[in-house]
Symmetry: C2
Subunit: 206 residues, 2 copies
Amino acid sequence: MFGVTTATPSPAPRTRLSPAQRRTQLLELGVRLLATRSLDELSIDLLAEQAGISRGLMYHYFGGKQGFYEAVVQHAADDLYARTAPPDEGEPMERLLASLAGYVDYVVGNHAGYRSLVKGATAGNDNLRAIYDTTFAALAERFFTSDPGGLVIPDTPAVRLVIHAWQAMVEDLVLTWCDSPAGLSRADLLQVITASLPAIVDTLPG
Amino acid sequence: MFGVTTATPSPAPRTRLSPAQRRTQLLELGVRLLATRSLDELSIDLLAEQAGISRGLMYHYFGGKQGFYEAVVQHAADDLYARTAPPDEGEPMERLLASLAGYVDYVVGNHAGYRSLVKGATAGNDNLRAIYDTTFAALAERFFTSDPGGLVIPDTPAVRLVIHAWQAMVEDLVLTWCDSPAGLSRADLLQVITASLPAIVDTLPG
DNA sequence: ACATTCTATTGACAGATGTTCAATAGCGCC
DNA sequence: GGCGCTATTGAACATCTGTCAATAGAATGT
């Protein structure tokens, strides 16, 4: 009243959530904010302000900026893994193709966030790289376990090395395609992705 | 004397170098330090201490931490490009293979630094990504200009997209191979690299 | 209804790090 | 041997991360 309550929109009505609610709220906010910023371009101040909480609460939940970033990356990685789960039914090869299509659609639908988090994770500390490596290893595992013994792809160190490289290629391919499709349709893209895997494996000596 | 000149090894005898000398000294020191650290793990304090200069001089030469990092990445990129230059003589295909072998050897010989700077650059701001993109585009250009009209690889947007992805694959392949060769020799690695390029291009529709 | 307990949340403080700039001092030149 | 140019410094400043004892919302029991 009396015109002294200045432009401050809301005097911060302290809202008290359950730890799980607060945690997911902050993680999802983090995914959104980090889609257009790198980690060191995101200050705890901005994050806390956007979340409507104090800086201290961030440290209570995640221990620090680094811990927060790791939690965000892990959160997004789990999301990616779940959303690209192969369907329960169908031929083994069909299920793999469906999973790959799911991956493409996921990346295309979130290319800004996906690019930012993946690049940030691979450039980060040991924990971050471990999250990235584990997730990509889990995705690759589908090629070996989805059809035990029935796949044409043998499980050897050299093949695993090549599949890792193929995954890096697919990641780059989809992200670059988002920026400039180069006249290729989504079906064309999937065609290149699926056909290149055996093509690359075949280049191995022996 | 008199036991008061404490443990300080050298009271910093101010050495005055030419701007070019100082700049390259700092850049090479940066390449070395950043091979085992990420940018935000490297403080200006440490950098200045290792270089034997004051913090202020860093800002005089590079304007700030970010500018320094960009200069280091550009320096390393120029080095990479020069060291992988194809030989002046020989068959076009031979020269490309020699260039690829040069790339492999360069990465193997500096995998720590190469990995750190590449990941840091791709995760960085627009300037850093521009340096990375420009360098990789220049490397790719060799495939189109080294033998004008004589190569079996046509120059279309789709082909450029796929070659970009192939470059990402090669980068991952070599770096992963450094960590665990998976029973493959250097010759095997080069075999996979060279054979995979046409194999991938052939997966394009049409 | 009220008091009590539990804990999610805060705000002020301490420490570290990036950044600026006027002052300093090494080196070539006359 | 003095002078001027400029490479270099060091201290002050600004911003940000991280810490912790104090605070307050909500459930529980009486």
